[in-house]
């Protein structure tokens, strides 16, 4: 029995095989995006709910406010999606972002660098922080939770040390605040920061689904040992991925400092949980191997919309976190049901 004869001898499966050829892949992709749309169902429900609850909610200005609010956390969440897909975690993104903001102040105000140089240096500084995380995780073998927890504390401390515990203002480069705030749509307050967020979403989505970095992120998260055995230099790619996440942290630092027209040396603590929550709400698994950028964006928007909407309808503040908690539970539970049925 030669393989060829085997091939021709069976009818059903061969036909099925060729049927799987062109159509089904496309069909699967279509079904995939339909599912993604369904994943957005909670978001849509939330938006519809608030639209009925308050006339101030579904206005161009407020929707832009939501996007603006989602921008910084969203960008952090984008970067950290890669890390989480490898099965890692990055707790340093919050204070790391603050640290990057302070460094922007150092570059632009203390050292008087030109705007472009300061911004570029800040983003690269974020990458440096990511690289250090990467070294700790993939070269020294420290568990990601600890490696990035250490970095979280170090970044928080150094932000204070370097800034002298005072905010740094961008007095010499007033254009700095335009990076986030400049309105790019006449008539509407549509800030450039949101546009940058959108660009980063597209970039992250392409990186994750269409490039080798993304492919290896999935592969490492799915089975790190097997990936290494397949001849992939896992150590190097983990370094790359943490560094990549650091780039997003640097950018978030620029945007947040730009938004506040100042480098605030405090805060950032807790932001990492928010960003990770956005990622996980979006269906990315902390076990690694599974995840999507669309999901993360939906997760970030769910969080931002909820917070905004509850404020818009003037829910007492102490009830707001209860409401957010409950809605997150319900949204993720429904998403689970949907996935399980699919």
């Amino acid at each position: 029995m030669s393989p060829t004869s085997l091939t021709t001898s069976e009818n059903g499966s061969a036909a099925a095989g060729s049927a799987l050829d062109a159509g089904p892949a496309r069909f699967a992709r279509l079904r995939g995006s339909l599912q993604q749309l369904l994943a957005a169902a909670s978001l849509i429900v939330i938006v519809v709910f608030f639209s009925f609850a308050s006339s101030h909610f579904f206005t161009a200005n407020n929707l832009v406010s939501i996007l603006t609010a989602a921008t910084v956390t969203g960008i952090l969440a984008l970067g950290t999606t890669f890390v989480i897909i490898t099965g890692g975690i990055d707790l340093s993104i919050g204070t790391g972002m603050v640290f990057c903001g302070v460094m922007a102040g150092v570059f632009l105000t203390y050292w008087g660098w030109p705007l472009w140089a300061g911004v570029a240096a800040t983003v690269l500084f974020g990458a440096l922080l990511g690289l250090i995380n990467g070294v700790n995780v993939s070269v020294l073998g420290i568990p990601p939770f600890i490696a990035t927890l250490g970095m979280m504390l170090i970044a928080a401390g150094l932000s204070l040390v370097i800034s002298g515990t005072k905010p740094i203002y961008f007095n010499d480069t007033p254009e700095f605040q335009d990076i986030m705030n400049l309105s790019i749509v006449p008539g509407l307050r549509f800030p450039m920061g949101v546009a940058i967020f959108v660009v980063m979403i597209v970039a992250a989505a392409l990186l994750l689904s269409r490039t080798i970095v993304g492919r290896y992120a999935f592969s490492i998260g799915s089975n790190e040992a097997a990936t290494a055995l397949s001849g992939v230099n896992v150590r190097r790619w983990k370094l790359t991925i943490y560094t990549l996440s650091g780039l997003f942290v640097g950018l978030a630092g620029v945007l947040s400092a730009s938004r506040l027209s100042s480098a605030q040396p405090t805060g950032g603590m807790g932001l990492e949980l928010e960003a990770i929550a956005a990622v996980v709400i979006g269906g990315t698994s902390l076990q690694g191997g599974k995840g999507s950028i669309v999901g993360t964006v939906i997760g970030a928007l769910i969080m931002a919309t909820l917070t905004n909407g509850l404020r818009i309808i003037s829910v007492p503040q102490e009830w707001q976190s209860v409401a957010v908690g409950v809605v997150i539970l319900i949204a993720v539970y429904l998403d689970m049901l949907r996935r399980r049925r699919a």
């Binding site: 085997l6 091939t7 059903g12 099925a16 999935f218 055995l229």
Partner: protein, 508 residues
């Protein structure tokens, strides 16, 4: 023959490798000639996989020299091994469950369009070409997590063959395959074989050796014993070199007179995707074998019975009482144990000790008066089964991860032997177990049955089913096509029933 052919393709000499508490390899040598298939055999824990892992660059040897085409070299890592033309199918799968079949096969060798972007469509096309070439029916775009163990094995094979390899190492590639698939594999090996290449083939299925190998190298307890010409030897000699003794002859069991009511009775069992109206009885003292092609649904029957998968319909009766089984815990409470075919994912706790694994299913029996577990008795049970099944391990505290594949399998078997079940469903229980130990396990199963237990044994090795089962249930396409008395069964008859419906298998 040219001078090239005179120097072996691959030569290992004086190779040693130790782990804490274990000398896995001790001064081992081996040579692989051009164009040959060299079988590597030995008992569980003899050091076969360890030797191959040295070749794959996963472990570094404590001592020894490696020569490829006469050139001495050190293998620095998996990538280096690939570059040297050494391609390996590991005993334990090394697949990324969340990636698709095609992505798995070409991992690390992705081509990029415009220098940046991956093209999954092209990747799938490449994979499909490969499958066409190899005669495999796999969907390149399917996530590996959805594949059965056997299909995963086919992916591993396809992956290994997709390299432009000179030395192909296969560590028990047929452990999860049934006869038809084994045929295809051998076909593939034959086609791979050329004057530039060679194959090292590890297996515990002795009957395969004469079909595929040119020479046989035997290891025992980490030491080199001998190399034989396949043509000039027979199974008996190989086995005695491996285990150092003669094995008892084969006899086939007769049906047990089905006296009273069955212990386990299944009626009208259906599941959403596969099973259609499966019904059978198992009696006390009986071993019921399940035969069928890959994907016939034997595993699914077992999983549905113990409540690991959802049943669409069906009634399960235990000792005459209708049972409401929703999950494996319910099944266990009713005295039904299920040994899964997927050892690594559904069988062992890799990071826990041998003894913890052994008592996992029966842990409640070890709780003392104050609610504390009795460590001494657990240790005693661990040692009992290490002895009974000859599990090769320095202590019962060893992590299961550090055991050889066959010894891990023995641990899983021990887990169910240690629990007092009325019904034992064993799915591919002897997967990766050496010939000697297999016989011992058969004896144990027989003893269990003789003690009045009902045993269901699912196996892809037909000779094993014929050797052991009182009756044989044959499945095809999710349906039960026959239940035969052992006396009425031959390989041909069983195969005939197994192919009743044109099953969609792994093969085209």
């Amino acid at each position: 023959m040219s001078a090239v052919a005179a120097t072996p393709l691959l030569e290992l000499d004086g190779v040693s490798k130790g782990f804490p508490g274990v000398q896995a390899l001790d001064d081992v040598r081996l040579d692989l000639r051009h164009g040959e298939v060299l079988a590597l055999v030995g008992e569980n824990g003899a050091g076969k996989s360890t030797l191959m892992k040295l070749l794959a660059g996963i472990h570094t040897p404590d001592a020894g020299t490696f020569r490829l085409n006469g050139r001495e070299l050190a293998i620095e890592g998996p990538r280096h091994a690939q570059e040297l033309g050494i391609s390996i199918i590991h005993q334990e799968f090394n697949l990324m469950p969340d990636l698709t079949v095609a992505q798995n096969i070409f991992i690390g060798r992705e081509r990029r369009s415009a220098g940046v972007f991956l093209d999954d469509r092209a990747l799938n096309r490449r994979a499909r070409d490969l499958f066409d070439h190899l005669g495999l029916a796999l969907d390149p775009a399917e996530p590996v997590s959805r594949l059965t163990v056997a299909r995963q094995q086919m992916v591993e094979i396809a992956k290994a063959l997709s390299f432009d390899a000179k030395v192909l190492i296969m560590d028990e590639p047929t452990a999860a395959l049934n006869d038809a698939e084994v045929d295809v594999l051998f076909e593939l090996i034959d086609r791979f074989r050329s004057p530039e290449t060679g194959v090292i083939y590890i297996s515990h299925r002795m009957e395969e050796l004469s079909r595929i190998s040119d020479r046989i190298t035997v290891l025992r307890d980490g030491r080199y014993i001998d190399t034989l010409d396949t043509a000039a030897t027979d199974q008996r000699e190989v086995i005695s070199l491996m285990v150092g003794r003669e094995l008892g002859g084969e006899q086939r069991p007769a049906p047990v007179p089905s006296g009273a009511e069955p212990v386990l009775s299944v009626r009208g069992l259906s599941t959403k995707h596969l099973l259609r109206d499966v019904g059978f009885d198992v009696h006390a003292g009986e071993i019921l074998g399940f035969a069928g092609l890959m994907g016939a649904g034997r595993t699914e029957v077992a999983r549905a019975i113990v409540g690991a998968d959802r049943r669409e319909s069906g009634v399960i009766t235990v000792h005459g009482r209708e049972a409401d089984i929703r999950n494996p815990a319910d099944a266990a409470r009713l005295g039904i144990g299920y040994l899964s075919e997927d050892r690594k994912h559904l069988g062992v706790l890799l990071e826990r000790s041998v003894r913890e694994n052994v008592v996992l299913a029966s842990l409640r029996d070890y709780v003392g008066a104050l609610g504390f577990v009795r460590g001494g008795r657990i240790e005693a049970t661990g040692q009992e089964y290490v002895r009974k099944l000859r599990i090769k391990t320095p202590s019962t505290g060893q992590l299961v991860r550090n055991l050889s594949g066959g010894n891990q399998q023995k641990v899983v078997i021990a887990k169910w032997l240690a629990k007092d079940c009325d019904v034992l469903i064993f799915d591919e229980p002897t997967r990766g177990i050496d010939v000697g130990a297999k016989e011992e396990i058969y004896v144990l199963l027989r003893e269990l049955a003789d003690q009045g237990k009902a045993v269901v044994m699912i196996s892809s090795e037909l000779p094993e089913v014929l050797r052991l089962a009182n009756r044989i249930a044959v499945m095809a396409e999710g349906r039960l096509t026959a239940v035969l008395d052992n006396a009425d069964a031959t390989q041909e008859i069983v195969m005939d029933h197994a192919t009743r419906f044109s099953a969609e298998g792994t093969l085209l």
